[in-house]
């Protein structure tokens, strides 16, 4: 008998373990990818040895972008200084650029400027000088990565300087640098991945939505569970119908409506249309149905208002449902992509999914940074799930099994 039991148990555990490994491997790989930099991503399939662990990917997410790795740690500050100098008419940076140009390079700049032709792939001497004087190696390469045509600007600069570039032209060069390059580098420096910003945006939108949805949905669910009133049946049918019809039908006119209301490119456009969750109303109705009517009657005897009954009795009684709905609603808001993608245009307002997608476009080759962003993006839901696990599973299956 025991041998037979083992005969079933061993393959059972083997299959389950294999499935578990298959499910968890991508997650482990994700975690490993976040702590490897550059080449190590390829050298090690999973985690590198402890000495090779690196926080670079996370630094890139929160520090200023690719530039943070250069000699100049405080790149935004430097750029601000350059811009201020420019506005104040101080010729500091460009004069230094000119000084850094070797006679050879000056000759080359002048020659290139005279001919007016620069091969696109050619490394311009001006670039090298700028690189050096700003203390940012690879400035132009990084600008390229950022999608900023800085090299184009330098070539344009050489064109504008025209022929006969002499030592006395430092002033012209200076002005050109200030006019063309500095604003662009400032833009570049300011354009780091505002990942912290995305996180805060997402947290704000998700938490606000969850609170509003929870209040209105539980209030509606309470009415549907504990009152008899005209139109109740109609409301229930309408709710069922809403759940059957895919939301994409309304996408276009809803966009039009939000546009007319002036909620475009604002959090209002994300929060307001979803203030009441039909799913939530069903969920709360389900749990409040089981609440004995005597409780409410006792409350009424004591002179409690109807809202008081909801607030002091019905809501506390359905605590498990609050947990379940919290998680479902938070997940829905946190992971929402299509609607924010339509509504939000300013990168300062981007939520995590939109911001991460944007980032993937820019850093398509920097897998480590992408994975670090992804890991941070999934953490809040994971943490919430650990806290609310029990409520969540029961809430998820409540409608299916009992209903």
């Amino acid at each position: 008998m025991k041998a037979r039991k083992l005969l079933i148990q061993i393959p059972l555990y083997a299959v389950l373990l294999a499935a578990l490994v298959a499910m968890l491997t991508p997650l482990v790989w994700l975690a490993a990818a976040t702590v490897k930099n550059g080449d190590d991503f390829f050298h090690y399939l999973f985690f590198p040895p402890p000495s090779q662990l690196s926080a670079e990917n996370f630094q890139k997410l929160f520090g200023s972008p690719a530039l943070a790795t250069g000699e100049v740690r405080d790149w935004p500050a430097l750029c601000r200084k350059l811009a201020e100098d420019g506005r104040a008419g101080r010729p500091r940076p460009a004069a230094r650029v000119w000084d850094r140009l070797t006679p050879d390079a000056r000759e080359k700049v002048a020659a290139v400027a005279r001919s007016g032709k620069i091969a696109p792939e050619e490394e311009h001497p001006l670039m090298a000088a700028l690189n050096e004087c700003l203390g940012v190696p690879d400035l132009f390469h990084k600008a390229d990565v950022e999608g900023l045509p800085l090299a184009e600007h330098v070539r344009g600069l050489a064109d504008r300087l025209g022929a006969g570039l002499e030592a006395g032209d430092a002033h012209r060069l200076n002005r050109a640098v200030l006019e063309l390059i500095v604003p662009n580098t400032v833009a570049l420096a300011g354009r780091g991945i505002p990942f912290g910003r995305y996180m805060m945006n997402s947290l704000f939108v998700a938490c606000t939505s969850v609170l509003i949805q929870m209040f209105f949905s539980s209030l509606g669910g309470f009415a549907l569970a504990k009152y008899f009133f005209r139109g109740k049946k109609l409301i229930m049918m309408v709710m069922l119908g809403t759940m059957m019809i895919p939301g994409q039908v309304m996408l276009a006119p809803l966009y039009e409506l939000i546009f007319t209301m002036g909620f475009m490119d604002s959090f209002l456009g994300l929060i307001v249309p979803g203030m009441v969750s039909v799913f939530g109303m069903f969920l709360f109705r389900q749990s409040m149905l089981q609440m004995p009517d005597e409780l409410l009657e006792a409350g009424r005897m004591d002179g409690c208002t109807e809202f008081g009954l909801y607030w002091h009795i019905a809501l506390p009684v359905s605590r498990p449902m609050i947990g379940a709905f919290c998680l479902v609603s938070f997940m829905g808001n946190w992971n929402s992509f299509l609607w924010p993608q339509i509504i939000l245009h300013t990168s300062d307002l981007f939520t995590i999914p939109i911001g991460l997608n944007q980032m993937v476009g820019t850093y398509s080759q920097e897998y480590g940074v992408m994975m670090a962003g992804t890991l941070l993006a999934i953490l809040p839901v994971m943490i919430l799930f650990f806290i609310l696990q029990r409520e969540f599973i029961s809430g998820l299956t409540a409608g299916a099994v009992k209903g």
């Binding site: 209105f216 009415a223 999934i378």
Partner: protein, 300 residues
């Protein structure tokens, strides 16, 4: 103390006040848009401001647009794999997890379920890297066991895009659907098994004649839910294929088609037509599924 007139008033109107937020938002953000999309469907629009009446022109154009059929085909193939590959695997896992003597059941359950928590957007970003040529996990794993060279471009090859999508969705949703099956299995009346055993039914017969009929309502629910979800597929391919339909439109889905036409090209009227086609199609398929399962009568 509150006046008794107020007390009577609030008692009488409480249910209406409590459902008012729902009714209001429903009217403004669901009923009105739905009616409006019926109207919009007859117009060609350019952004939210300009409109030209075209009657059934949008509909006719859609039926003549080969891309629409590509989108429908891709979405349907994806839905078929969801129902016929993913759900049986979910059920299988649930049956295994339901074994009486199993230890660590909750740990397994959480492990299988966890990918669902990531959400489609982040799963898509993760798997776009997993499927990457040379550096990606899948290629390196396959190369390690010498099945394939490591430079297979899964998401760049039209023939491999759909398998990649199906595999990703399988990873993400198999545990999610398993939860439903497991809950249903745990709710099956144990006496039925005993009775069947007394009648001499083997494990397989018990599964077919006791388990399956008992979990049928949940199974139908999961099939319908899974089909509806599959037809709304968007984020997974859109992000995995770098904000587009992929090579030779191999990852174009109906919702992505709607998004392209409505919001990238700016024709909200056309998007409404596509939206209604999707809604009616999904509704039809769901009803058909429930009908086939014979639960239609019980649902109404």
């Amino acid at each position: 103390m509150l006046g008794s007139a107020y007390y009577r008033w609030q008692h009488k109107y409480a249910p209406y006040l409590f459902t008012a937020p729902f009714l209001l938002t429903f009217a403004v953000f669901a009923l009105y848009p739905m009616a409006k999309s019926l109207v919009l469907a007859f117009y060609i629009t350019s952004g939210p401001k300009s409109q030209v009446f075209v009657g059934l022109g949008n509909f006719a154009f859609m039926l003549r647009d080969p891309n629409f059929y590509v989108a429908v085909k891709n979405t349907a193939v994806f839905a078929l794999f969801s129902v016929f590959l993913q759900l049986p695997l979910s059920l299988g896992l649930a049956v295994l997890l339901n074994a009486k003597f199993l230890k660590l059941r909750n740990a397994f359950r959480f492990g299988f379920f966890s990918p669902y928590l990531l959400g489609q957007v982040f799963v898509a970003v993760l798997f776009s890297v997993i499927f990457a040529p040379r550096l990606g996990l899948l290629n390196r794993a396959l190369a390690a066991v010498a099945l394939m060279p490591s430079n297979t471009d899964w998401l760049g090859d039209p023939d491999r895009v759909m398998p990649a999508l199906v595999l990703t969705a399988l990873w993400m949703y198999v545990g999610f659907n398993m939860i439903y099956f497991l809950a249903a299995l745990q709710a099956v009346d144990k006496d039925l098994y005993d009775a069947a055993a007394v009648d001499g039914a083997g494990p397989f017969q018990r599964f077919v004649h006791v388990t399956l009929p008992s979990i049928k309502p949940v199974a139908v629910f999961v099939v319908v839910l899974s089909t509806i979800g599959s037809f709304q597929l968007f984020e997974l391919p859109y992000l995995m294929l770098r904000n587009g339909p992929g090579p030779e439109q191999a990852g174009l889905t109906i919702v992505m088609y709607l998004y392209q036409k409505g919001f990238e090209a700016g024709d909200l009227g056309y998007a409404s037509v596509v939206g209604w086609s999707l809604a009616l199609g999904v509704l039809g398929i769901s009803l058909l599924q429930m009908r086939l399962a014979g639960t239609w009568k019980r649902e109404t």
